[in-house]
């Protein structure tokens, strides 16, 4: 409630600030001009008005002088030096515009007692007399204005003048010096004209920008606050909570996985779930979970998928011991099931692998992407295998991993899954190419090819090459059927990045798994520990193959593995 009040107050303050800022620049904006008019001139002013020095500049620059005749017919505005104006006015009655009496009125004062009248007569007397005979016109002119209203029109003294019948306007840009204005009404019955001085004013609106800015800020704050409150109210208490789909961990349908895997790398949730699954199912060891997490959901996903396939039973977080026990109790049937499926019909088994490969895609993706993470994945996958009592699980995991490798390249291709399902032979080529395409390794294509050759030989220098072999292995794995393939795939996937590593982690795990009799055997077999423990990277991948039951199947993959790089090379 308090927050709502604050939001409202902020908003209102903001609006008010904006309004005031705008108003200061509009409604309250000062006039653009300062206009001042002379008050009624006293009769003593005669017909002449003189602006005191400085009055013209008083409001700014330039000044616009407007004079309206009060009687008479002619108005003359003239600008001249102070001395010239004073000299011209002489002793004639006049009034002085002395300044402003208020912002709209000019103050008139009676002329000072002939300030400059004195000096001028003195010097001018003699010459005037002398000139008089020579220039009668001058004398003739002088008396005329004395009787009538003096007319300053056209005098040489003025630097600027304006003459009008009833009114006149003059614009004057002040110059250095003491300039004054002479206003004269000329004609019969002329009186001092009414003078209007107007100056442009530079009007600033200093409060516009600050007001609006502050207002906007306040308003934004208020709105933000209000919005937050509103959203919170709308979402209720769960506003800050995310749904946790606990069910997903255990219940990850194979087809779901497959679909997700095919479509792209496994969805985050699925991956997470599977990861959770793996960690749960495998062991609580940080290694696994870390590896899974770091690797990304993909790697885990396959495993989980397999797991899901193997048993739909929701996974509970189990300790390693629990898992071992579980493995010991229920391994055989599943294993046998798996094995059976795999052995009984290569085709039959393939579909399973097919499903598996999809997941592998994910596994591969991470593997290829980062060498460091991959090892983890590899490690994890083996772990999974080891930890999980079911060979089938292992197989699945393994399969997934390799398949993942294969698919990873193809990730974008929905085809990958199918291809892998269809058969390793075809897949390898496709996958490898796909992998090449999708991977940056492509750039290194040449080197990679070389690398791949080497790989074929047994070593995998570049990540690209590593990926390839992995893929090859993975691909070969699937055909080998889950059991057979699993071991090679795991190592294969691992090997490329860290040749030694994959073998090592599995080994320690294996012992852990070993207690579980058939499980352990199967795991060993699948990993080819006896044969290929020392085998190493590429050879390891091959080595495992033989242990696999379907040696026929293995062979093709084995061939495929080397072939893959080549094919890729060809590409």
């Amino acid at each position: 409630m308090l927050q709502r009040l604050i939001a409202i107050v902020l908003g209102v303050l903001g609006l008010a600030s904006i309004a005031l800022g705008v108003a200061s620049a509009t409604a309250w904006r000062a006039q653009d001009t300062l206009v001042a008019t002379t008050s009624a001139a006293p009769a003593s002013a005669g017909t002449l008005l003189v602006a005191a020095p400085g009055v013209l500049e008083l409001g700014g620059t330039p000044v616009t002088v407007t004079a309206r005749a009060n009687g008479g017919t002619k108005v003359v505005l003239a600008i001249g030096r102070e001395a010239d104006v004073a000299g011209w006015v002489g002793t004639d009655p006049s009034a002085v515009i002395a300044g402003l009496s208020d912002l709209r009125t000019l103050r008139l004062e009676p002329a000072a007692a002939e300030p400059t009248a004195e000096p001028s007569p003195v010097p001018s007397d003699a010459p005037a007399d002398a000139a008089a005979p020579a220039d009668p016109a001058a004398d003739a002119a002088a008396p005329t204005p004395a009787t009538a209203a003096p007319d300053p029109d056209g005098s040489d003294l003025w630097v600027s003048q304006a003459v009008g019948e009833r009114s006149a306007e003059l614009m004057w840009t002040p110059q250095p010096g003491r300039w004054t204005l002479l206003v004269a009404g000329v004609g019969d019955g002329a009186k001092a004209p009414t003078v209007v001085l107007s100056w442009p004013q530079t009007v600033t609106t200093p409060w516009l920008v600050p007001g609006v800015v502050v207002g906007v800020v306040l308003l934004a704050l208020g709105i933000a606050l209000g919005l937050r409150l509103w959203l919170r109210a709308r979402r209720g208490e769960q506003a800050l909570w995310h749904d946790v789909e606990t069910g997903a961990l255990p219940i990850v349908r194979a087809h779901q996985l497959a679909s997700t895997g095919r479509g792209s790398s496994a969805s985050g949730s699925a991956g997470l779930d599977s990861a959770g699954l793996d960690s749960a199912g495998l062991d609580s060891a940080g290694l696994d979970s870390a590896g899974l997490e770091s690797t990304g959901p993909g790697a885990a996903a396959p495993g989980s998928a397999e797991v899901a396939l193997a048993d739909d039973a929701p996974t509970i977080v189990l300790t390693r011991r629990q898992m071992r026990e579980a493995a010991a109790t229920a391994p055989t049937p599943r294993v046998s099931l798996r094995k059976r499926a795999a052995r009984s019909a290569g085709d039959d088994s393939r579909p399973a692998t097919g499903s598996v490969p999809v997941t592998p895609v994910i596994a591969v993706a991470p593997a290829t992407t980062s060498g460091t993470t991959t090892p983890g994945t590899g490690a994890s996958s083996p772990h999974t295998g080891a930890s999980s009592p079911h060979t089938a699980d292992r197989v699945g995991a393994v399969d997934a991993a390799p398949a993942g490798v294969g698919v990873a390249g193809v990730a974008s291709d929905g085809k990958t899954g199918v291809a892998s399902a269809a058969g390793p032979d075809l897949q390898p080529g496709d996958d490898s190419t796909a992998a090449l395409d999708s991977r940056p390794a492509r750039r290194f294509a040449p080197s990679r090819w070389l690398g791949s050759r080497r790989m074929a030989a047994g070593s995998s220098p570049t990540p690209g090459t590593t990926a390839q072999p992995a893929t090859a292995a993975a691909q070969s794995a699937p055909p080998a059927t889950s059991p057979a393939v699993v071991p090679p795939a795991g190592p294969g996937a691992v090997t490329p990045w860290v040749p030694g590593r994959p073998a090592e982690p599995p080994v320690p795990d294996v012992p852990a798994a070993s207690p579980h009799g058939s499980r352990a055997d199967a795991w060993r077999r699948s990993w080819g520990i006896p044969d290929g423990a020392a085998a190493g990277s590429a050879s390891a991948s091959k080595a495992p193959v033989p242990p696999a039951d379907p040696s026929d199947v293995t062979d093709p993959p084995g061939h495929a593995a080397p072939a893959d790089p080549r094919s890729g090379k060809d590409d």
Binding site: L20, G87, G90, L103, D129, A130, A137, L157, R178
Partner: protein, 354 residues
């Protein structure tokens, strides 16, 4: 302003719940406060006159001087076209008016055989007075006239504040002279009185001495005061010879006097502390003769005011009056340079005879 800002907020914000009347009142109060504050803040503008210049500036701006010359030139052009000085009085005065009037008469009488002195108004040099009193005098050195005669030094004068500048006089600059340096027209040259000290001789004295030199020639006591015989002096001397010859032939007499016109000397200081002085003089030539008949030339008859007709035979006397304008450069006190005659004009303005 901050005060206004703070004032407004408390009023403005609650205003939303306040009745319209109260809001209006609040607004009015705010407006009033704003007005008061703004008026208080700015205050009533006070006239701030420009500083009184320490040195009196030139009485005219250059533009004004140009305008003055233009108007005088236009006036002269009109009068020249009509060969009538009737409209010249507003813009021409002094010796210039007299001279021009005579020239018009001569030109009319001689049907243009005797032309007018060319007066161009384009200025080479303008010497403006720095003064705030009257009369005011400015000197202008014009460009060379179309007839290739020497440039003129013109004198413009404003007798008083309500009269206009008039062409008071002009001189033809003598060949080979060099005008002394004068202050820039934007600064103005100080006007000096005709008896101003600080010069090798006061302008009045200089004019008087020069008149004496003209009269007495090398016998003058002041001959040393002036530079070598100037062409004007030579011209005056040579102009006397025909009359002197007539006088000798007819056992008559010839005399010529040179009289400075009082109070018709205008002086402006030069840059070196000297002075430019332009003075009016009157030359009166009187020829008395007997036993002879002198046919009056038309140019003389023209300025007789109609008393004499061209070709009239004079039997006893002839008086000719000239209007002279002479310009001097008077060095400052202590200078070793002599007074220099810069130029002169010598125009016959009246003739009487019988």
């Amino acid at each position: 302003m901050p005060a206004r800002w703070h004032d407004l907020h408390p009023r403005r914000v609650p205003a939303q719940r306040v009745s319209t009347g109260r809001r209006a009142r609040a607004a009015a109060t705010v407006l009033a406060a704003v007005l008061v504050l703004t008026s208080c803040a700015s205050g009533l503008p006070q006239p701030v006159p420009g500083a009184v210049p320490a040195v009196t500036p030139a009485a005219l701006t250059v533009d004004q001087a140009d305008r003055v010359r233009g108007e005088i030139g236009a006036s002269l052009a009109t009068a020249d076209a009509a060969l009538s000085a009737a409209d010249l009085t507003a813009r021409v005065s002094g010796p210039a008016l007299a001279s021009r009037t005579a020239e018009y008469a001569v030109s009319t009488t001689t049907a243009g055989a005797k032309g007018l002195t060319s007066l161009k108004m384009d200025a080479q040099t303008v010497v403006l007075p720095s003064t705030e009193s009257w009369p005011r005098t400015q000197f202008v050195v014009t460009g060379q006239p179309d007839d290739l005669s020497s440039p003129r030094l013109m004198v413009f004068q404003q007798a008083d504040a309500r009269s206009q500048y008039t062409l008071w006089g002009w001189v033809r600059l003598l060949p080979g002279i060099k005008m002394p340096a004068t202050a820039a027209p934007t600064i103005g040259s100080q006007p000096l009185a005709a008896d101003a000290p600080g010069l090798v001789a006061t302008p009045n004295d200089v004019v008087a001495h020069y008149a004496d030199v003209l009269l007495n020639g090398d016998a003058s006591a002041f001959i040393t005061q002036f530079a070598e015989p100037d062409t004007y002096r030579q011209g005056i001397a040579s102009g006397r010879e025909p009359y002197a010859a007539i006088a000798s032939q007819t056992s008559g007499t010839f005399s010529e006097t040179y009289t400075p016109v009082p109070e018709q000397t205008y002086v402006l200081a030069t840059a070196d502390g000297g002075a430019l002085a332009v003075s009016a003089m009157t030359t009166a030539s009187t020829l008395n003769f007997s036993g002879a008949s002198l046919p009056l030339p038309p140019e003389l008859a023209a300025v007789s005011g109609g008393a004499l007709a061209p070709g009239d035979a004079l039997r006893s006397n002839l008086s000719v009056t000239y209007s002279d304008v002479v310009a001097f450069y008077i060095p400052p006190t202590g200078a070793t340079a002599p007074v220099q005659v810069l130029g002169a004009e010598h125009i016959r303005t009246s003739v009487t005879g019988s």
